[in-house]
């Protein structure tokens, strides 16, 4: 089982995820239409680029925008979750060892204690994100089972990873579960709402171009995100 998960399944899921993301990213930008969107994308590439970069960059900074500042609770839960979700898969020692074996490459490695903190932070934040969906009427009204499913798919690798790490019960079982959940997540990325992993950048870039070109950018006004 372990060989299958770390062998052929790994290659398939990684391939589907990367190719799927790339294809959808390209399709997104090819599908933008200056006339339907009413943004002269290609006429002012410099203004568009500046607007796009600003729009992405501002929102990547914790408390970098009015939106984050006016809602500190979700900002903390959001960054707590996403820091773990981005850093742990890429920079955990175990993941890097695995990548070196498989791909011959590895990234910077997080200190084990720091990695523990990020992982627990992601799990705790996910808990708060669920709680928020249950408690706040303005979030509850929109929340569907699909939203919980996406959260579950996203957090399952962390939970199984922790169970393996603390060797609760049988280590190899949890390790296999962890790899399985991780691969499920990879497969889900291009085909579900998890596509926001990369479409976030596309969508933010689009609105940034809109403001950069049409809604003030060319008048010399930077959008106060």
């Amino acid at each position: 089982m372990h060989d299958l998960l770390t062998g052929v399944f790994f290659w398939i899921t990684l391939g589907v995820c990367l190719i799927g993301m790339l294809a959808r990213f390209i399709m997104y930008f090819r599908g933008l239409s200056w006339q339907l969107d009413r943004v002269a994308y290609t006429s002012y590439p410099a203004a568009g680029f500046k607007g796009a970069v600003r729009s992405i960059y501002k929102w990547l900074i914790p408390f970098g925008t009015y939106g984050w500042r006016t809602q500190p609770f979700i900002a903390i839960a959001f960054f707590g979750f996403h820091l773990g979700a981005v850093l742990i898969p890429l920079f955990l020692l175990g993941h890097n060892l695995f990548l070196r074996e498989k791909l011959g490459i590895s990234f910077f490695t997080l200190n084990a204690d720091v990695a523990d903190i990020f992982t627990w932070m992601a799990v705790a934040s996910a808990f708060f994100l669920v709680l928020r969906r249950l408690v706040l009427p303005e979030v509850r009204i929109m929340t569907t089972r699909y939203d919980y499913f996406i959260l579950l798919v996203s957090i399952a690798p962390f939970i199984t990873g922790l169970l393996a790490r603390y060797q609760v019960g049988e280590y190899s079982f949890w390790l296999n579960m962890h790899i399985f959940c991780g691969e499920l997540l990879l497969i889900a990325i291009p085909f579900t709402k998890l596509s926001h992993v990369f479409l976030f950048f596309a969508s933010r870039a689009q609105l940034g171009m809109d403001f950069g070109i049409k809604r003030g950018g060319m008048k010399g006004t930077k959008m106060a995100w």
Partner: protein
């Protein structure tokens, strides 16, 4: 009865058609007929397939249902934080639902969508600034309005308004002759006070071509005179076109894209005919948005620009004051607490916040200008934007919507509100009428005209 006599899928494009619709008081029969109007699901779905592309598809797909847009929406706040007023919910439960059902929705659902699209969103685009994914729900509501218009589910007044543009190339039944006559008449009224005051009609190659809001011609002709006086004192070489003088677009509020195109093309044709250096529009927000910001795209202009550089009145006024073309008599500056309404259509949606602040520096005694909170791009809609002011059916909802602006104004403590936008001006007038908070409101022109330092050679002989 699939297609009614008044309420149907056909746009109104004759004067008789408009009169007929107007004869149906308050649209009583129109709305009765709407209950029977059939939904052309095939057309609806075909239109969606042709026009919902990357941007909107992605917006609807990646919306995380996080609710961060809730607090950004003034309608959510003033309606007791009703979760049904959360922007993401509003669009997902209308446009999102139509798409999920591939256009197979019924009459009742379409009427519900009409209420949400026109009475629960003013297309102020504020929520777009608060969404981590950059989802601009206001844009989607503008789009939804187009779908609803195509199916005949549009508020009565806006069907008429869009029809007016189709017939008169103006939002009201004001003809080209009415426009020129009224402008000339108003200028004559002020000739004695301002010797040499004229309204140059159809002058080719002028520095400025001025365009207006038809309401000024019909209901507020003083505004035309004030515009003429300010250009005159500033020594501008200006003109008005006898055709293509209307800058507004109720068609944009209605979602009648074909009429939007007809309307802006009439203004662009005037620009091409008269070849002015610049076009300046009056103190109106949506007119500027329609003719300068969105219009080029409706007219198929790939660079997103009108044929000649086009600016808002506040940009011209700021420039005239900053360069000294217009001089203010310091003793006549505003010396009472005064606040300023930022119009969504050219502040949030075209970044002109500096121009209006420059003007305030010139016309208000230091220390008396009080900003609303929040302000500039983050300011709230006046409460009557996007056509909301004009829809009788939704008057009750509109009056609730005014509460946010009322409270913002009250918080400043100012009794005078400057509102360089027709829509905002109306909403603020109405909020005083409904809530009686004891405020006065004004455009910039009448205020500035009264405090000008008039150069010696332009003064009347004693």
């Amino acid at each position: 009865m699939p297609e009614g006599k008044f309420c149907n899928k056909k746009p109104v494009d004759t004067a008789e058609g408009i009169n007929e619709l107007l004869s149906d008081t308050s649209g009583n029969d129109y709305y009765k007929e709407m209950k029977e109007l059939e939904v052309d699901s095939d057309l609806l779905w075909k239109t969606i397939q042709n026009t919902v592309k990357s941007r909107m598809k992605t917006w609807l797909e990646i919306c995380a249902h996080c609710g961060m847009c809730a607090d950004s929406c003034f309608l959510y706040e003033v309606n007791g934080r009703d979760p049904k007023q959360v922007p993401a919910y509003k669009i997902q439960s209308t446009l999102g639902e139509i798409i999920r059902k591939k256009g197979k929705v019924d009459n009742e659902f379409m009427r519900h969508c009409m209420e949400v699209a026109w009475a629960q969103c003013t297309c102020c685009n504020r929520c777009g600034m608060y969404c981590p994914h950059g989802i601009d729900t206001g844009i989607m509501f503008g789009y939804l309005r187009g779908l609803l218009y195509q199916q005949g589910f549009v508020p009565w007044e806006l069907k008429i308004g869009a029809g007016m543009h189709r017939v008169y190339r103006a939002q009201m039944d004001v003809t080209d002759a009415d426009f020129v006559d009224t402008f000339e008449w108003m200028v004559e009224e002020y000739e004695d006070d301002y010797p040499g005051l004229t309204v140059p009609v159809d002058v080719e190659g002028a520095d400025i071509m001025y365009t207006v809001n038809a309401r000024e011609v019909k209901h507020y002709p003083e505004d035309l005179a004030e515009a003429a006086i300010l250009f005159h004192i500033a020594g501008e070489n200006w003109t008005v076109p006898s055709k293509g003088w209307e800058e507004t677009s109720l068609a944009m509020f209605a979602g009648d894209w074909a009429a939007c195109k007809m309307q802006v093309e009439s203004v662009y044709a005037a620009m091409e005919r008269l070849k002015p250096k610049r076009m300046i529009g009056t103190e109106c927000g949506h007119a500027h948005r329609a003719t300068v910001v969105e219009g080029p795209y409706w007219a198929g202009r790939k660079n997103g620009q009108p044929p000649v550089e086009s600016i808002h009145y506040v940009e011209w006024l700021a420039e005239a004051l900053n360069t000294g073309k217009l001089k203010i008599d310091p003793s006549k500056r505003i010396k009472e607490p005064v606040t300023l309404q930022d119009s969504c259509n050219y502040i949030r949606n075209q970044g002109l916040k500096k121009a209006t602040r420059d003007i305030m520096k010139h016309i208000v005694e230091p220390g008396f200008f009080i900003e609303m909170s929040p302000n500039k791009e983050h300011n709230y809609c006046c409460g009557g934007g996007g056509g909301f002011n004009g829809i009788g059916l939704f008057r009750k909802q509109r009056n609730i919507a005014l509460i946010k602006k009322r409270d913002q104004i009250l918080e400043t403590g100012a009794k005078l509100v400057l509102a360089p936008c027709h829509n905002c001006w109306d909403a603020i007038r109405d909020l005083e009428e409904v809530y009686e908070i004891g405020i006065r409101w004004s455009f910039l022109k009448p205020v500035v005209v009264k405090m000008l330092e008039i150069p010696e050679h332009l003064r009347p002989e004693e």
